[in-house]
């Protein structure tokens, strides 16, 4: 039915997203991340959590829309 299970896609996208942002932050500038007592590390952590939550909410939203459409069609 489904070629790739949904949660696998979720996990994959989530991982890529976070790995990408982490990588960007690391490559961008070590000095930047270490400035002002490494406060941007905390910012990066908050951004990762925020992106993770938003991604999950969007994915739930999408699936619910699909279900609602199916039910109204019946």
């Amino acid at each position: 039915m489904r070629s790739i299970p949904r949660y696998m896609k979720n996990a994959l996208v989530l991982f890529c997203l976070a790995a990408f942002s982490t990588d960007m932050a690391a490559q961008g500038s070590m000095d930047f991340m270490r400035s002002i007592g490494k406060i941007y590390v905390v910012v990066a952590v908050l951004v990762i959590i925020f992106l993770g939550f938003i991604y999950y909410l969007i994915s739930i939203d999408k699936r619910l829309k699909k279900l609602e459409k199916q039910q109204t069609n019946e």
Partner: protein
Amino acid sequence: MKKKNRFVGLMQASWWKILGAVLVLYAIIVGMLTPLKPGLTSITPLHIDAGTQETIVIEGYNTHFTDATRVWFKYDDNHAISATDITVLASNQLSVNLSVPASIPVQKKNIPLNLIIDSPDDGPSVMPSALFLRARTDSEVGGHEWNAVISDIHESQGFKFPYRNILNETIRNTFYHVPLWFSMFILLFFSVYFSILYLRNGDLDDDIIASSLIRISVLYGVLGLLTGSMWARFTWGTFWTNDVKLNMAAVAMLIYVAYLILRSSINDVDRKAKMSSGYAIFAFVALVPLVMIIPRLTASLHPGNGGNPAIGAEDMENTMRMIFYPGIIGFTLIGMWMTSQLIREERMKLNQIENDLD
């Protein structure tokens, strides 16, 4: 469905969702805005010789050095010398003169001295083993020059988080990275409860709740791994170390990812529910020793190794607890909120299947 009414009622109520959002917001705002206590970051030179005059430059973080600032170098409670000619170069930079006595406090070649600075605004700051005193071959032991008295220490003012070297401002991650794991544990604990409930009563709704809880827990766990990895990069130096807690947490997450794979591989609804409920119970039984026990038995970079509680007095101060505990409750409630959305989705699907069968 009668016994479910209170859960349904609680799920539809919105006060706890708002409470969760408020608590997380509180943890973010207060956790980010509260300043750190002053700390000492660097000192030059690192070595001084007995019986010489030295000019020492000290740098701090978040400090407010003034002319009233006093500086001592202390070996132990009975041996200390005080620095003179304190010049404030900046609010975080001091230059002091130190006439190093020819005598030494203890018979050793290299004697570590702790730096103690007291300022009216900041209170005391300490840098352990800040510099080393090199003894001369003819140095006497226990001279009377070492009898400086450290007294009239000011008290630190205001609500502040502790300053730790290496961690610096990232000590705030305690309010975001750690509660993710605590919330994951709480959610997984509930998942065990609902799994047992399913195995006892065979109500598919229990299985839906349990599996939804685990899906959100996996999200939390993955976010916990990623945020921890980020934190490790700038404190321990790499994204991933061979720390026991890291590896065990990763193994625990893989166990729960396997749960999701197991669920998706079975098409029959009842069989799926039965097998995954049993698996969920054993997965939690495996999780507790993996994350809570094994890292405590060996050396770990995380706080809480060697048998001490991770949130004991040495690792966390009361100011931090005031953000940390609300943060745990907040993240748990947000997790339950997200879980409730998954539960609604799964119930709709189950209804659809039942309708199709009719």
